[in-house]
Symmetry: C2
Subunit: 416 residues, 2 copies
């Protein structure tokens, strides 16, 4: 009997998409290697809560080796992928060359500053744990500095927080910063005047949450402005940021030592050198089967993929990545068995965004709603999707605590 | 009516001692400023559990502003104290000069490498959150590297963990590393042979836990060796460490990429330039009233103080710092009122050290015991002393989970 050599599948990226691919290949006669530069899966939808001291980093970061323990045909490799040789079917990584028979690219995106160098240098992105912890440390530190400062103008600059991008991340982030400050930090700094604090949400389009119907966009704007003390600026574009002053394209200047950039995503840098057809923001144009043109053995999924459906590109969100992941796994198995592949089609499960206590907006199919029940739905959906029962319990305890006692546990300026 | 100017008390350091001082001054006609370089109180006894992925950093770090919220006469200043002008009664800090009428020095200690520069450069201390998170990241990363390594010698070097210092920190740390590896990581790395891993505890004296009676020292050594696979080397002294090889004074060399130094503490660097009488390791010699000779308005407490009782110096442990803190507050109030001060006397509440699951040693008065009940006592005492009800619940959940499922939640190589 000859030893059976199983085909080797390499999955690059352990985000929502990559993990679905690995799971979809369970029990198949394959050897699967998951490659990621971190040893954890990051639950990105709650990243803004790390940035606003609500949950701690490890509660939304789940060790990848735990997720792979029950899957015999899968292994993990902690590495940075530095290059992809599509012809030679191999990856150059920080720990050597990895050969593959099949490849799934699921490396996701990174913050897109649209060529604004001064913003890239001085603003915070919000795409990974490091970003989030840096924002938390920075916000808390600004309050300590303001507390020691007597000049009212400097104090105002220290406590002006500008969030750019009116999508779900920007909306959730500005709502959460507002609650952190007005519900929690005001108790920590009795000497600080609430009026000194400015939270400004900036969006270049004429409405917030552009993917949502107008009624929900408007409800979001109203709740942020009326209940959360957030100044919402629509039709406004950032031109420059030097760390102390935000300059807008219309010439207005706002002194602010904090700018959080949630205005866009582009494909991971890994794809920059990849010689394939690209869509907007460096994304890879894939075939309806999620294969890369000319390379049947390579699939690409998630935020870094350009996929048009019914005339418009799919959004860069977790449900798209997850559905594409399951689909890519199925097509990969079909390819191996010589079966005909099928075309991907996204089924929109709806979108939600939370604005704060008891406040969220949700669009589930033809149901559009806002307020308490949208908030409750958001809460249930997010708790259910967290990986790991312990994480769910601990996040629930933290949320309940914060909800009833108007607290945030993780008000720690941590060593970086 | 003239405005009443209250005397200003500055407390430097928000450790166990400093917090007791602040609390002891509650309701007194004083203005109290607590100064610390971090915005949290650190529960040092569980630091080794952060280093071994058992609890997350924020669970043992409690925001100082929360502890001060209910004390009207106390404020907090986030600053590094850079100099102390005893004659001028002022502190130079990273955010300006602070004048005081009374001063309590409670800045604690830092790792003492006893002049071994190569060790200071290449070994890990275990005195603050940064140290602990760095150790956790390092241990987890060593396993990833070993998993990608084929050379058995290199693999062994990657997975040899040397802990220096047979006091409670060294014992608890080596026991916890052993359990992290043998109970948890072996499931994450099915390809790694348990035999490759070496955990070595080194002590220069002829017994572990020198403060404990011989029977408990011996029990500790036996449990570590027989049940935890820890090699215990007594009468052994480190001479040098280059990051790859530990060289001992007797000439023996052990290849190891991890050296954790838990062998000594010296006074905080702040005290280096202080022109007062010093004891061993840079500690301040105080009077029986905890005042500094020649400066009745300055008290010093905690790890950085040399205080002899019944012929031997008090140990550098939390109970000493806490009792001195309460005492210093009382004497300070007495001084203010012109009452005679009283002499400090330490009441030893006993010592404990946990070695791992169901295993600890404890000396409470004349009761010496080891095993399950010592472990239970350790657990109860430590949970009760954690600040914050939420932290207690979450640490308890984490411990219970780890206990029943042989897990460690925080197996995250986090961004530093």
């Amino acid at each position: 009997m000859q030893p059976v050599i199983k085909p080797h599948v390499v999955v690059v990226g352990a985000g929502f998409g990559g993990l679905q691919v690995v799971r979809g290949l369970k029990n198949a006669p394959l050897s699967v290697t998951l490659v990621d530069r971190n040893n954890y899966h990051l639950f990105q939808p709650l990243l803004y809560q790390v940035a606003t001291a609500g949950v701690s980093a490890n509660e939304i970061a789940y060790p990848l080796r735990s997720t792979l323990r029950n899957q015999e045909n899968a292994g993990f490799c902690l590495a940075d992928v530095e290059g992809i040789d599509l012809e030679g079917k191999k990856l150059q990584t920080s720990c050597g060359t990895i050969d593959y028979d099949y490849l799934v690219l699921a490396a996701g995106g990174r913050t897109n500053f649209y060529g604004l160098d001064s913003v890239a240098q001085n603003a915070f992105g919000l795409k990974n744990l490091q970003d989030a912890v840096r924002i938390r440390n920075h916000i808390l530190h600004q309050f300590e500095l303001a507390n020691q400062q007597t000049d009212p103008d400097i104090r105002r600059m220290l406590l002006t927080f500008v969030i750019v991008g009116g999508g779900p991340t920007g909306v959730e982030c500005s709502g959460a910063i507002s609650e952190l400050i007005h519900l929690v930090l005001r108790k920590d700094y009795p000497g600080l005047n609430d009026q000194t604090v400015r939270i400004i949400l900036v969006e270049m389009m004429d409405k917030l949450l552009p993917a949502m119907p107008a009624s929900l966009s408007e409800a979001t704007r109203r709740i942020l402005q009326d209940k959360k003390n957030v100044e919402v600026h629509l039709n406004k574009v950032v031109a420059e940021y030097d760390g102390d002053t935000v300059t807008f394209r219309d010439g207005e200047k706002i002194p602010a030592q904090t700018l959080i950039w949630a205005a866009g995503i582009k494909a991971a840098s890994l794809y920059d050198s990849l010689d394939v057809k690209k869509g907007r923001a460096g994304t890879i144009l894939v075939q309806p089967t999620l294969q890369i043109p000319g390379h049947a053995e390579v699939f690409a999924i998630g935020d870094a993929v350009y996929f048009e459906q019914d005339g418009s590109p799919l959004p860069m969100v977790a449900p798209v990545a997850m559905q594409q992941g399951r689909y890519a796994a199925r097509n990969l198995l079909g390819l191996m068995r010589g079966e005909p592949l099928t075309n991907f089609r996204y089924k929109d499960p709806g979108t939600m965004a939370t604005i704060g206590r008891n406040q969220a907006v949700a669009m589930l199919g033809r149901f559009h709603f806002s307020g308490f029940f949208a908030w409750l739905a958001w809460l249930v959906v997010h708790i259910m999707q967290l990986i790991g029962f312990r994480n769910r319990i601990i996040v629930l305890i933290n949320w309940a605590w914060d909800y009833f006692f108007y607290e945030r546990a993780v008000r720690i300026i941590s060593p970086e």
